[in-house]
């Protein structure tokens, strides 16, 4: 069975072509147009890359490509987390604020001139990291618990926790004598752990956080594909009632998805603080938008019960390729928002098309 499966995978293009050859003219046209539509996102991105590369040849230089990979790595953890929420047919709009909260917590314990806790020397980095993970996990638990037990829609729940988290960030930044100011001047250990040079390619630096992102991708792949929890997550996302009947602990699964997601957000905050080297109340703001868009582009559908880690990686990468390209073209940030919005809309529409029952 497994060999025939492999053979099938290898020949997917072959099979498509064989089928295509047997079709009549009308069906052929239909097959081509549906092939183009289903892959429209990739086609658009490909065209964009070509156009940008022609106008700005630097865009395809080694330095630029490494830069794209680095930024992809930085944005991966949050997308990996939010992907699980989408598999459950939910969403998580508190993600960005949780990134911010984690970054603020870690920064407050890792700056040399500490105004939040005056006199506090930078703590061993594991302490603030665990603290941030714990706080985010708690918020994630509140999210998951409310969704699972009160049967609230994740949108409503995370809208609420998003506000709560933002409030906490603002309050936290007012602690001590900080008075809401931006936190910077981090302990070199923290900065090196994240931003230190792992190796260089053609003069371009590949920092350590790329490695962390790779580790997280592998870890999440294992969790999604090789654990009971992962299988249960897909089952709950596909049919919650059937999962209940099958003896799956649905509530626990939902809560775990949100907690795991929150831990991913905290890791994003951990990376982003040192990467950007300064943290304020707006750190992480709107990160969930890019993450959700990346997931949808990568085939994690809001239909539920479907999606792959590889898809999320591709989604984040493709978005980064576009945005880096746009900045090479010196497109105004305001226009980039408009383009982002359009991309999300188109990606969702294309995705939904695959699941519609044709009448």
């Amino acid at each position: 069975m497994s060999e025939s499966t492999k053979a099938k995978k290898r020949n997917r293009i072959q099979i498509w072509l064989d089928n295509y050859k047997q079709m009549n003219q009308k069906d052929k046209r239909r097959a081509i147009s549906s092939l183009l539509l289903n892959n429209a996102m990739y086609i658009i991105i490909l065209i964009a890359v070509i156009v940008i590369a022609i106008q700005e040849p630097k865009y395809v230089s080694v330095r630029s490509l490494v830069n794209i990979i680095n930024l992809t790595a930085a944005k991966l953890p949050i997308a990996l987390g939010i992907g699980g929420c989408i598999v459950l047919t939910g969403t998580d709009i508190s993600a960005g604020r949780m990134v911010g909260l984690a970054a603020v917590i870690i920064a407050s314990m890792s700056i040399t001139d500490n105004r939040i806790f005056p006199g506090l020397e930078p703590l061993p980095i594991i302490v603030p990291l665990l603290a941030a993970m714990a706080v985010c996990a708690l918020i994630g638990f509140i999210n998951g618990f409310s969704v699972a037990k009160f049967k609230l829609h994740p949108f409503i729940v995370t809208l609420a926790t998003q506000l709560i988290t933002y409030g906490i960030i603002l309050i936290y930044l007012k602690l001590g004598t900080n008075n809401g100011q931006t936190l910077s001047g981090f302990d070199p250990t923290y900065r090196n752990i994240i931003n230190g040079t792992m190796f260089t390619i053609g003069g371009a630096i590949v920092p350590f956080y790329v490695l962390y992102a790779i580790v997280l991708v592998v870890l999440m792949w294992v969790i999604w594909n090789k654990t009971t929890f992962g299988k249960n997550m897909f089952a709950v996302g596909s049919n919650e009632e059937a999962a209940t009947v099958s003896g799956v602990n649905v509530s626990r699964t939902i809560i775990m998805v949100f907690v795991l997601a929150a831990i991913m957000y905290s890791l994003t905050g951990f990376i982003d603080g040192a990467r950007i080297a300064s943290v304020n109340a707006n750190t992480g703001f709107n990160y969930e938008c890019d993450a959700i868009a990346a997931c949808v582009i990568g085939g994690v559908s809001f239909v539920g019960g479907t999606g792959r880690i590889s898809g999320i990686v591709i989604g984040v990468l493709l978005l980064q390729i576009i945005f880096t390209g746009l900045s090479y073209m010196a497109v105004d940030q305001n226009y980039i928002y408009v383009i982002k919005g359009i991309i999300i809309l188109v990606a969702c529409a294309i995705d939904m098309r695959k699941y519609l029952t044709k009448k």
């Binding site: 594909n225 654990t227 299988k231 596909s238 049919n239 999962a243 209940t244 009947v245 099958s246 003896g247």
Partner: protein, 526 residues
């Protein structure tokens, strides 16, 4: 308090009132046929749902439509209202041929239906619902006054005592049903279909409903009355049509019918060789004891029975008799109010499906789509989902084992599929059912609860499912099987529990009973 009193006073006159009309030729002449359905035929892929059915309904009469579940009553009505388009046959209304495209068109032409499940805008008030889709307007502004008065007028005519401004969701089902009837009347309907109207009414409410129906009849409205309840039918109707297996069986005036005759007409089909030999051996050992089981949110009341190892125990009953609720309450999927469940003499704690699975129970649900399959997932995931903990080593799932078990299930259940990665939603209903059955067998259950295991499955696949059930019993498993198809219960089961109105009405030996006996028991508490 006052409205209630007024209602019960009005009721007084109707209580006990019997239909004393003599339905002779004179009556027939005075009540000409207003709706004539001729040779209606409707086929679905693989099933002939209606096969040349005719129905003639007279003005100013109540025409009862009877038949087992799946006999084709609702299909016939759906053809009338344009929900389905008929393949063949004609419908004459007032002598003119009609082909309604939807129920709105039917309603506007004087043919209305009061559904068993009321489709109403519950958050809106009574008059909003009655005028929905045809709000009276003055210069583009909806006239609340007109709506109110129009509603009031109809209510007065029908002696319904409800404020038109009451919000629907605050009203009991009976009153909401009255609103539906009033809506039909406000369209000056000449034909009104009642689909199981009394299934959720109290006795007093039924009397009020009958009073209204009698009033409509006196106003020359033709009424089609679909119900399972014999005594009601015999009391209210003028003529009775019985259907079976999508075919017309008989139409008689009420004087020529009695309960036994109706039952015989309804179930009078022959048992053929549609079932494998019943050669499972029922062991002495009692495996499952259920005592005093009641549901908290369902009408399941005080059900006590036991089941043996190797036994196939059928559960019969009409729609809404509590069969599904019984299985779901045992399985912990529906909340239990009272009662104990013992497995091999020891009480087991089952508060949710998880605990049920742990204790060796399995439930094949009635709604395969809604609560059975994971449509978007492949066969392997669908097969292994209830048994994942057995494939886990140090927190990681073993693909090899999952593959092997899925392969076993595909072979053992004879599932027809290209491979394990095929999406379950692309399989036929019968194959999907086998996948779910295989899912449960992997958990090695002792008690299998099967709710309509062959619903929506073609005849060939049905036989295979029966064989699987029989094999499982031979392996010493205990099987409880709910079915609406009585021949299936008689052909497969050893013993049959008959449910009625949420209670256990009786228990019969499948080899020494008749469909008539089961039907009589099934009607015991309705």
């Amino acid at each position: 308090m006052e409205p209630n009193q007024a209602k019960s006073n009005a009721l007084g006159a109707a209580v006990g009132q019997k239909n004393t009309t003599v339905h002779d030729e004179v009556w027939k002449k005075a009540h000409p046929v207003v709706l004539e359905m001729k040779n209606i035929t409707k086929a679905f892929p693989g099933v002939k749902a209606l096969d040349g059915v005719s129905l003639n309904v007279r003005a100013g009469s109540v025409h009862a439509l009877m038949g087992e579940n799946g006999a084709g009553k609702s299909t016939l009505m759906k053809c009338l209202f344009g929900v389905y388009s008929k393949d063949d046959g004609t419908i004459l209304f007032d002598g003119k041929e009609i082909n309604f495209k939807n129920s709105k068109e039917a309603l506007e032409n004087g043919v209305a239906m009061v559904h068993q499940e009321l489709n109403q805008a519950l958050k809106r008030n009574v008059m909003d619902n009655i005028w929905l889709g045809r709000y009276p307007t003055r210069h583009g502004i909806v006239s609340e006054k007109e709506m109110y008065e129009g509603t009031k007028a109809v209510f007065d005519k029908l002696e319904i005592d409800v404020n038109p401004k009451t919000v629907m969701s605050t009203m009991p089902v009976a009153e909401r049903q009255m609103v539906e009837i009033a809506k039909a009347v406000s369209f000056n309907s000449k034909v009104i279909v009642f689909d199981e109207p009394t299934s959720s009414l109290t006795e007093e409410e039924v009397e009020h409903l009958f009073k209204i129906i009698n009033m409509l009849r006196d106003n020359n409205v033709a009424i089609i009355y679909i119900s399972h309840k014999m005594d009601e039918i015999l009391r209210i109707s003028d003529e009775i049509t019985v259907m079976r297996d999508g075919q017309w069986v008989a139409t008689e005036v009420v004087e020529d019918m009695d309960m036994n005759k109706i039952i015989k007409l309804m179930v009078g089909r022959e048992l053929t060789n549609r079932f494998p030999p019943k050669d499972n051996k029922v062991e002495k050992e009692v495996s499952l004891e259920v005592e005093g089981l009641s549901g908290l949110y369902s009408h399941l009341r005080d059900v006590t029975f036991n089941a043996h190892k190797g036994e196939i125990l059928g559960v019969a009953g009409l729609d809404g008799a509590g069969r599904t609720e019984l299985l779901e309450t045992i399985f912990g999927y529906a909340t239990r109010k009272d009662g104990t469940i013992k497995l091999h003499g020891k009480e087991v704690k089952i508060n949710n499906p998880r605990q049920a699975v742990k204790n060796g129970f399995a439930l094949l649900t009635e709604e395969r789509r809604a609560t059975g399959i994971f449509g978007i997932l492949d066969i392997r995931n669908n097969t292994t989902i209830a048994n994942l903990k057995n494939y886990t080593k140090m927190g990681i799932l073993s693909d090899v084992q999952m593959k092997a078990d899925t392969e076993w299930s595909i072979n053992a259940m004879r599932i027809k599929t290209p491979n394990q990665q095929t999406k379950i939603s692309t399989l036929s209903g019968g194959n999907q059912q086998k996948v779910i059955l295989g899912r449960w067998l992997l958990t090695q259950p002792e008690i299998l609860l099967l709710d309509e295991p062959t619903r929506g499955i073609d005849v060939g696949a049905k036989y295979e499912i029966y064989e699987l059930i029989s094999d499982l019993a031979k392996q010493g498993k205990t099987i409880m099987m709910v079915s609406s198809e009585m021949p299936e219960l008689l052909g497969v089961c050893n013993r049959i529990l008959v449910m009625s109105g949420g209670r256990l009405a009786g228990e019969v030996d499948a080899d020494n009973t008749s469909q008539e006996e089961i039907m009589t028991l099934a009607a015991k508490y309705v």
